[in-house]
Every structure is written in structure tokens, then in C-alpha cells.
Amino acid sequence: MAKYQRSNEESLWIERATQGDDDAFAQIVESYQVPVYNLCYRMLGNREEAEDAAQESFLRAYRNLNRYDPKRKFVTWLLSIASHYCIDRLRRRRLKLVSLDDLLPRGERGASTPGAEVNVLQLEHAEEIRSMLDGIGEKDRAAVVLHYWYDFSYEEVAESLSLSISAVKSRLHRTRRELADRWHVQNKAFVNGGRQDEASAV
């Protein structure tokens, strides 16, 4: 959270934006586009959806700016909006009978977003993480993302996701356990697969 400490400039932008100054809000968007987009990407695992979700999150923040409590950290409030939006989106996606994701190979998803200049290694790394997070429940995923990528404390995660602190601890514990198991199984399968390949080559 140290990365996103509030400055006087930010307070001024928020104040001006609350009074209807769109340029001030554009400054806020400029400042927080990366953390909001990154959160949406970690939650949704797709660049195009992440772009749309990040845009929508900022629009929701713009609409509800008059409800923002200045006692709270602005970034916590903003990421909370983005988390809730992504959770809703994941739920809707789950409810679809036929998902487009099922029809497309993993690698093709979101690869055509303009300006995506990430090297192949980074993409592989991101894909590994994405596949790990893919099978986790929406709120659990949000808790992991906020805790690990945004250094949110248990209290901040609880506040952002409207959960109790004990619920956050329990969810994080369960999710870590699940992720560790899946990672273990995946690596084991990879090692076994490699051995079989070597044996057949011999």
C-alpha cells in the first residue's frame, strides 16, 4: 500500500472532481489506471475484459464520488469498486451456459489487445498465474489478489470485500491450501510427463 499513499495533489483532484471537474477526474484515472487494470486482469484473466472492467470501475467511481468518505484511502475505495465489479462479472460469466472461453484455446484469449507489449516469458508467467487463479471462487480470488499484489492487510481486504476479518483469514487460508495443492499436482504432472517423454525418446 506504500506505493499508493495519498498526496496533497490527489486530495485536490478528488475535491475538484467531486465538484464536477472532469479534468481532475482524468488525472485520477491517469494515476490509478495501472493498479485498477492489473487488478481486473488478475481477476478476469483476459486483457480485453480487464480493459472494459477497469473503464467501468472508473465510471462507477465517477458516479459515486459524492459517496466517497475522505477518511478512507482513495486507492482502497477505488480497488474495492473494481473488485466488486469483477466479482459480479465472474458470477455472470459462470452463469452463462456456453462460455466463449470454452470454445477458444487458452493462448488465444485477449492476445489481440492493441499496445500489449509484454514479452513471451512474462506472458507465460502471467498465464501460469492466471490458470492457477482460474478455478478459485470470485471472492477468494479477489482476497488473494488484493493481499498479494496490493499488499492489502486483512483489515483492508475485509473492508474492500465487505467481509469480516476472520472470514478473510479463513478464505485466504483455504485458498492458499487449494493453490498449493494444485501447484503441486501440476508440477508433478509436468515432471512425470517429462520423464515419459525422455523414456520414449530412448
Partner: protein, 179 residues
């Protein structure tokens, strides 16, 4: 300490006290299952923490501004639609409540309007005839009578008119005072 409790410590390693840490390390040396889990989690956690920050394509804030413009336009359109629908709804309500009275009033209003127009036309015609008659009379008088006599007649008529107006005024005033 039981096995699941060590698992709990394993996943909350940043918040452990000194003694808990020592107990966990001792357990990990003995328990192969927990050791494998710890290694797996440590590996994955490392990957997660070192995962690159994903950035949006350039021009994100510009695209947001465009979205904001569209949002504001739609909001305005919705507001206009709401106002129109409210007016229509009010009209329907008014018609529902007072429709019967309005319908009964309409024919009488039309007939009143037509009668008024008719009376005005009649009055106009009468005034025109009177005006023509007065002109003919004046022309005859001015051509046939001497100027002195004409002046005397006009003065007398004006004087009589004034007396008549004054008497009307007095009668009216007295009537109001009596009432």
C-alpha cells in the same frame, strides 16, 4: 500441536511469533507431507509476487474520456425521456380524473365563443350604420346651416351631454352609497 495447526502456521508465515516459527521448522523436518506443501506454496507465492504488473494499452485515459462523454449523453437522453414520460403520465392522470368535466365543458365553451363572435359582428354592423347616418347628418348640417348657428348647436349638444353624464354619475354614486 496437531497437523492442521501446522498447516495454518505454514500459510500465515509472515505473522508468526518466534516460538511458532521454531515449532513449524521442526515439524517440517519431520513431516514429508507438510514439507511438500510448504515447498509448493513457497514456489507459487514467489511466482505470484514476481508476476509482472499488467498495464493497459496506451491511451487508456483518453478512452475513458470518450466513455464518459457517451455516459453523460445517455444520462441526458434518459433524463429527457423521463421528463417527457412524466408529462405524458400527468396528462393521462388529469384526463382520467377530470376528463368527464372537460368534455362537458367543451361544447358549452364552443357555443359561448360562437355567440360572442356573433354579438360582436352584430354590434359592429350597428355601429357602422350609426356612423354612416351621423356622417350624412353632419354633411347636411355643415352645408345648409350658417357657421354661427352650427357652433351654437355643437356647444349646446356638448353642454347637454356633459349634464347628462354628470347626472348619470350622481345617480350611480347615490345608489352605491344607499346600498
Amino acid at each position: 500441536m496437531k497437523h492442521p495447526q501446522f498447516e495454518a502456521l505454514l500459510f500465515d508465515i509472515d505473522h508468526l511469533g518466534h516460538e511458532e516459527r521454531i515449532a513449524l521448522e521442526a515439524h517440517l523436518r519431520e513431516c514429508e507431507q507438510c514439507n511438500a506443501l510448504a515447498a509448493s506454496w513457497s514456489d507459487l507465492e514467489g511466482k505470484m509476487l514476481s508476476a509482472p504488473q499488467m498495464e493497459p494499452a496506451t491511451g487508456f485515459s483518453g478512452r475513458f474520456r470518450e466513455r464518459l462523454v457517451v455516459y453523460k449523453r445517455r444520462k441526458q437522453e434518459r433524463l429527457t425521456l423521463v421528463v417527457i414520460l412524466s408529462i405524458l403520465f400527468s396528462l393521462i392522470i388529469v384526463t382520467g380524473f377530470f376528463g368527464a368535466e372537460l368534455l362537458t365543458f367543451v361544447p358549452s365553451a364552443v357555443s359561448f365563443f360562437l355567440k360572442s363572435i356573433n354579438s360582436l359582428v352584430l354590434l359592429g354592423g350597428l355601429l357602422t350604420i350609426l356612423g354612416d347616418f351621423a356622417l350624412v347628418l353632419l354633411e347636411g348640417l355643415t352645408q345648409n346651416l350658417p357657421a354661427g348657428l352650427l357652433l351654437a348647436i355643437v356647444t349646446a349638444t356638448s353642454g347637454l351631454g356633459l349634464i347628462w353624464a354628470f347626472s348619470i354619475y350622481r345617480t350611480g354614486f347615490n345608489t352605491i352609497r344607499r346600498e
